[in-house]
Symmetry: none
Subunit: 215 residues, 4 copies
DNA sequence: GATGAATGAGCCTTCATTCAT
DNA sequence: GATGAATGAAGGCTCATTCAT
């Protein structure tokens, strides 16, 4: 096939190219038909490749799915690191940037949401899903905690004592994930912008002295 | 089996008994082995019934799963209605009771959480999951909005304007669902009580004039 | 299918009937197409059953093959026990009967020979083949040793000392197996009768005082 | 790989070198994992060559296996011809040498036994296995018959008439093959030396006047 | 009502073979 | 010559569903 030949341009990269193709096809399939619908046939067909190739480039279906989850996690991770790097140095701005990244156009798509929740719905029964998840999520959670602690450390006159930083971090994460779930289950009722606004309001509620009252 | 014969006492109720048995076995199977692991064989085996019975009492596997989701939703619905009925009449107390119901021992079990997220992970691809979900969730969301509106309507001197009630309702729901996700994915890091405390703190942050500062 | 309904005559025996059918079909397939040709499809087709039934009645293909080998071994075992029971009490007659059983029409068929050697050719790599084989073969070998020892114990004037009984037993077994191999590989050059005669001559050579010179 | 490049020294011989490498790797694979385990990947991997090479140097897998069997047969053939050439001229010595060759260290290894029986177990279904086998075995059988006839022709006073030479030849071959089977299936119970002793005893029993009573 | 045997579609995986580079 | 990516046909197995008893 012509499209395949093109990929051959750099022979030493074929393997990586194919793995990437398959992972992306897997994302599309899971989003479209759910985890059970992401059969090897469906994935390879979507990638425009032959059935047997999946097992040639991946040890097993599980390996493909695991890499798919990893790919998603890595994208997400890169996104919020980038956002953090671009943000002003003050904790409030950084926290806002971190949360904004979760609702960035590149991360918060219906497709990706569907895949995240598909994996989470199975995570309990797939140790390596959990592992992959924790590995990436741990870093983000730690960052969240650091930022919340920084914010809480700033003395603000007349303010009632801020929430425990760890609990605040947890709440922010929960809020974001819960909004993702709403975006997944009822996209007619809420869109990405509204979800982000909601999250920002939540931040403002948690740290009223550091965030201006929302819109 | 003797236990089955006993159920025959009232012939007209056998069907209901069996359906209930199967639904509960389905919950257990999904929690234990995930949605894909909840095969008809696994479910009937767990229910102590014969292989063919599932299709005898349910039109199809999908019908069984749909009823299983309905069963869960109904239990949840009953729980928060009961909590609401038992709560004092003021909006703040009622809101607190509504949230508390989500973390009640009978609702917020590892088993049920696993099942909820298993369904949600598939919801996009199963119209009738979504339907069932919305049907029950809509009522709760409406109640949440009403209570938030009631709270927001109470004029409090010196307070900065409260969040938009609908957005507040949304945030509360998101917070709860997000905490559920954390309970599911990292039960070692957070337990039911801590999750509930988190949710209560969130309420306090959203409506600082109506809820005392948390612990 | 009518042929299947007939088997249903006694419901409680269906499972055994099917297993037997499948095992016998497996024997036929292995004989006809070799161990690799004995696919589940081929076996079930030969048995006139549907593909899925094999896995319903046997845990796995390996379980079916293992039972097939066991079936063969059991038949063989029954044959020589019967022959032994029917033989006169003197060791020579019993030994002759034991050897004759190996060339009995019911045991020494081209089909069965093919299956035996198919299994032996794989035995090294299938621990349970070896186990099954040894389990049954051990009994026969012990009997062979006993009879050889009995014969060697009979003092015969002027005879040169008989071969060590264990070695004699081993030689007899080897002779029989080797003749089986010839029957398998070159049926045009040797038939069952000639093979048996050969074995009898071997016996006579090993124990010249107890067996009359052959034809 | 360097080791491969070296083989390039004489370009015209590369093909032969590769074929030999592959055949020897096939022997090792069959011995180690059985005929079904001797996949082209396994063989090329064991030979340290690239996946595609097998089909490059052999028309098909069957061609490789056929050549593998031929290789084994040729080695065996060479061994007994050599043994015969080195033996004294009298029939008894030559017969003993012929049999000894079957238990020579270079021929009678666990690896080779496994391969022989792997092929024999499949021979019925692979015409060209049988052909290859008969082609080489025929020569040996003829030699065996000649030697037995020579021995039988020697008049020995007082001896009971020797066995029919052809039948004796057949018995010797059967004895050897049967001992090989025992070496294959129960190496713990019998070793090469004991098997050879057994065969020598068998010879002595068949031709008591020409062979001294065994150890 | 209940049982479990039976069916067949479909999934993951393996593998001989082909072929572009 | 050599490489390893690509293909597609099976193979073993699972499972929802049907159905005779």
């Amino acid at each position: 096939m012509a499209s395949i030949s093109k990929a051959n341009a750099n022979p030493s990269r074929i393997r990586e190219t194919r793995r990437r193709q398959l992972v992306e096809a897997a994302v599309a399939c899971i989003a479209e038909r759910g985890l059970p619908g992401a059969t090897l046939s469906a994935v390879t067909a979507k990638a425009g490749l032959s059935h047997g190739l999946a097992n040639f480039h991946f040890e097993s279906k599980d390996a493909l799915l695991s890499e798919t989850l990893g790919h998603l996690a890595e994208e997400h991770h890169a996104e919020w690191r980038r956002a953090l790097d671009a943000a002003p140095a003050d904790p409030a701005s950084r926290l806002a940037a971190l949360v904004a990244a979760d609702f960035a156009r590149s991360v918060c798509t219906p497709e990706r949401l569907a895949v995240w929740f598909a994996f989470w719905g199975q995570a309990t029964h797939r140790p390596y899903y959990l592992e992959k998840h924790r590995q990436y999520d741990g870093a983000r959670k730690a960052m969240l905690q650091t930022l919340c602690a920084d914010l809480a450390a700033v003395p603000v006159q007349g303010a009632r004592p801020a929430m425990d930083p760890d609990r605040a971090a947890r709440s922010i994460e929960a809020l974001v994930d819960g909004l993702w779930l709403q975006l997944l289950l009822d996209p007619a009722a809420i869109d990405r912008k509204e979800a982000h606004a909601c999250a920002r309001d939540g931040l403002a509620a948690l740290f009223p002295m550091h965030f201006p009252p929302a819109t």
